[in-house]
Symmetry: C2
């Protein structure tokens, strides 16, 4: 278990996810430092003992003493940060990330990375409707999925190291997918659902709906509170796969619409039975897992 020797962990980007990693890892006894250009976030984390050391700039000492670096930055700026600062990386370390899309991120990073450092991508599938280190909470990892996303450049050692990180953080389900499998899955279960929630929330202008909604509307729009900068970036970085899922969804939705126009109750009921069966199987899988 490599983690015994990797006692100093540097987190780059101290938002909701970086802060939650810091809390989980510090509780496990690791020395956790953080770099974030927002000095308020760093100061908050120091004041609340979320981190042991921190800086609002790429501090050479913090970087060079790190046994592991976890990038919790917006996806578009990770490669640039590495390019600018990898000369300080300790030789032989493994680094990872928390990014929600992989194909557009992983290959670029692995291409520019020093040969004696290994980048293994990961996606912690957890979050909240709030952002910022002050809302960080390691309990969001419980009963959530952690996906390790290796390419053929990754070693078995790094893959296992990263799977172990997911378990240490408290994720109940740790899996391995290729970047392409990951991005197709995430386009469906996460990006498409956010597009649906936003559209549902904005397609109707009646201010009084809150007086009349049941649980179904509340459930479908919970994620309509959305960080527009992060999600726009994620959507654009996974454009082709997201568009394919959006089209598949609209096709299915328009099929239901046509059943209603035609009064085709048999076709409509068949879809509802399929939907019910799948959702039941899904509940069963979830309960088996716990």
């Amino acid at each position: 278990m490599e983690w015994i020797n990797r006692s100093k962990i540097l987190i780059v980007g101290l938002g909701l996810m970086g802060g939650s990693y810091a809390k989980a890892l510090k509780r496990l006894g690791y020395h956790v430092s953080a770099i974030d250009k927002d000095s308020g976030a760093v100061q908050y984390a120091l004041d609340n003992s979320i981190i042991d050391a921190g800086s609002d700039e790429p501090d050479k000492e913090l970087i060079s003493e790190a046994d592991t670096i976890i990038f919790a930055l917006y996806p578009g700026i990770i490669a640039e940060w590495i390019k600018n600062n990898q000369s300080c990386f300790k030789s032989g370390i493994i680094i990872t990330d928390v990014t929600g899309v992989k194909g557009a991120v992983v290959y670029d990073i692995q291409k520019i990375l020093r040969d004696d450092v290994e980048f293994i991508a990961a996606h912690p599938m957890a979050g909240r409707e709030l952002s910022g280190v002050e809302n960080s909470d390691e309990r969001i990892f419980r009963e959530a999925n952690y996906i390790v996303v290796p390419t053929d450049k990754n070693s078995q050692e790094a893959i296992e190291w990263c799977e172990n990180l997911g378990r240490l953080l408290g994720f109940s389900n740790v899996s391995v997918l290729s970047p392409e499998e990951h991005d197709r899955m995430i386009a469906y279960v996460s990006q498409l659902t956010h597009c649906i929630a936003v559209s549902l929330m904005t397609c109707h202008d009646d201010e009084r709906i809150a007086d009349f909604t049941g649980d179904s509307f509340r459930d479908l729009t919970r994620i309509a509170r959305i960080n527009e900068n992060m999600w726009t970036e994620l959507f654009f970085m996974n454009r082709e796969k997201l568009l394919a899922e959006m089209d598949a969804f609209v096709n299915e939705f328009q099929f239901l619409r046509q059943c209603i126009v035609d009064g085709d109750s048999e076709a409509l009921k068949a879809k509802m039975r399929l939907s019910t069966d799948r959702r039941k199987a899904f509940d069963r899988k979830k309960s088996e897992k716990r």
Copy 2:
């Protein structure tokens, strides 16, 4: 308060909703009887003291002694049941229902009803993903909406009586809407959301998704477990209004899609901000209400 005199309540249709009404009303001290053609449901309710009396056919004695009748049948068969049995109704009673669409139901019932009996429509916006009296639970009414849906044939007395019924059952929010307002609202907040959930659950054939979903997919598909007979009937009975909401939703969804195709981050972020603001206002309203 008319309820003091209306001590004998007959529930016609003893499924999830009829059973939940029975439990709530019996706990308040009313004499509750029920008629359901499923003798197993009636026997279950008797055995478990959910009702005081019951029959699997339109028993003349149960009907004629009722001070109030609550129809918890599928919407398409209520008018027929009334036509066949209203000769036994006690003169002067008020009757109501629990149906999820109103325009296609209320006027027909009021047209055929005896002049000395008043029908006031109501929609208890509560439910579960399970059906049947054995899953009934009056706690589903807490923090839920109860809509009274009068026409110009209804008296102020009946409207107030029905509002009071909603409060007695334990609903936290009791409102009054016209059948047209109700059906437009329900097309948006309930029927459209069910169409979305079914389409999302059936549009993608990957069996392994349950291993990788986060909360967002779980939330958006909870209602994909759906009673296909009831919802097909509800969709068809509210066809025009539902189709209008489906079209408004698809237009909005396709606008997002075009933003992603065009890389129009400003338009996409503007929609996300609108969505976030509306959902926040919605959360605020909900928390004020409690």
